[in-house]
């Protein structure tokens, strides 16, 4: 079995005095799509933020065998770990094309995709290529954020709540897009609340509760576990 691309061991994180992550353990293999499920407030987004260095992490985080806990965010990104935050954070005053240009880490070493290829893959964005990103719809902004991260050629992308606040039809489109990205061989950690999208795309699911992983298995195994769903996911 090949080495895990991302290994998280006994990860703790705090917001002030509140102990939010209480020993998270997980791993993601190269090319694997892993969904991180759980109710609001159990620490899913904090896990993503702690891995990316936005929240101070305590514990071991290894990316391609290298420790990254506490590294500056650009160093983590340059190692090949991409992040699409929940807040989407497009650059609203810039055009769609300019947003994509900023996703390229080094113009001297062009990545897998050119901007034109990226726009060909996602025609919705091509129509808006020269519009200011601030006027895009929520779904288009989400697409743009994912494409922008892809421009940097990541080997693993952490996508935090991509369908939050989107209409059901758009949720479907975003799901298709994530599946398309996964098909190119990029590993994905999908932090999601909607079971339908997570189970459709993921090779494996983790369920979080009270700041730790309480279940891990394949979508098929998970489908059999009504008890896990009832205890940790249903509202």
């Amino acid at each position: 079995m090949s080495e895990a691309m991302l290994q998280v061991r006994d990860l703790h994180a705090y917001y002030g005095k509140s102990h939010v992550l209480r020993g998270v353990n997980m791993e993601i293999m190269p090319g694997e799509v892993v969904a991180l499920l759980g109710r609001n407030g159990v620490g899913r987004s904090t896990t993503a933020k702690a891995i990316m260095g936005e929240v101070a992490p305590k514990g071991d985080i290894l990316f391609k065998g290298q420790p990254i806990a506490g590294l500056e965010s650009h160093k983590i990104a340059l190692m090949g770990l991409g992040y699409v935050p929940e807040s989407r954070d497009i650059f609203p005053a810039m055009t769609v094309r300019q947003n994509l240009v900023l996703g390229v880490k080094d113009m001297r070493r062009p990545g897998k995709y050119s901007i034109d290829q990226m726009l060909d893959m996602f025609p919705n964005l091509r129509e808006r290529a020269d519009n200011q990103a601030g006027v895009l719809s929520g779904g288009e902004k989400q697409m743009l954020t994912m494409c922008r991260t892809l421009m940097g050629d990541p080997e693993l992308i952490i996508i935090d709540e991509p369908t939050e606040g989107l209409a059901p039809k758009i949720v479907q489109q975003i799901g298709d897009m994530i599946a398309e990205i996964a098909a190119t061989g990029v590993a994905i950690l999908l932090v999601e609340q909607k079971l339908s999208i997570a189970l459709r795309i993921a090779h494996r699911v983790y369920v979080m509760g009270h700041g730790e992983i309480v279940y891990g298995g394949t979508p098929a195994e998970f489908a059999e576990r009504d008890d896990v769903r009832a205890e940790w996911l249903e509202v």
Binding site: E72, S73, F91, V101
Partner: protein, 310 residues
Amino acid sequence: METIVFGLLNGVSYGLLLFMLSSGLTLIFSMMGVLNFAHAAFYMLGAYFAFTITGSTSFWIALFIAPVLVGLIGAVVERFGLRRVHPNGHVAELLFTFGLAYLIEEIVKIVYGKTAVDYRVPDLLNFAAFELYGASFPAYRIFVIFIAVAMLVGLWFLLKRTRAGLIIQAALTHPHMVGHLGHNVPFIFMMVFGIGCALAGLAGVMAGNIFVTDPAMAVQMGPIVFVVVVVGGIGSLEGAFLASLLIGLLQNFAVGINLKFAEIFGFLGMTDLSEVGRISVSSLAPVLPFLLLVLILIFRPQGLMGEKEL
């Protein structure tokens, strides 16, 4: 007529000098979230460095070297000072720049003395560009306008037409996201602070020989630059440009008007023997920027082009 032409030219050249200072301050404000109280001190350093370099080489070398030196000092201040203070919040940053302004002023006094130094306009530009109605306009002022416009175009090109400029703009508004895309945000911030200080230094090189190069020049210029930035709208470069020209023109036109209140309000029975009647419009020129500041804060708190209210 000559009052209008000279007022306009002087106003534009002074306004553009103000923009050299306010553009850097605006960029640094966008980055730190607080005003840099030491900004005018870097302007003063530019003038003193230019004086020293001009003394040993020439003004033309000083024109390039002095801003670079000031920019380097700015970068060092950001890297080893501000960056460490930043995690302690805005008040700590504000106090740091406040202390730094005094520190620079005192160092300048120790090195150069408390009186003005003899920093002069270069001989090559020390002539009248043209004469109008018997009054002459100095060529050096035309040169100031030329350098300021070149700086304006350069800054615009850097920010709007290069990838580095896009990264800077994005880092000012979304530093975390820009970091996650693989760009070195701490380095970008160091560069922004350095460039901002270099622009202030350039303003010092250009203005130190028009006005006076003494240890009080920072304290004299500092408040006006703050007024420009607030009137323009904090964080807005376009606003800073507009406000710089507005204040430059306003002050220069006011200086050129020798009318006394008694002459303007004579119809109300005011005579030039009364205290108020004796006041001339030109003597009000230094007050006008601050009057504008107060009015802007009352009627348009976000400034001319700003988005955020203070």
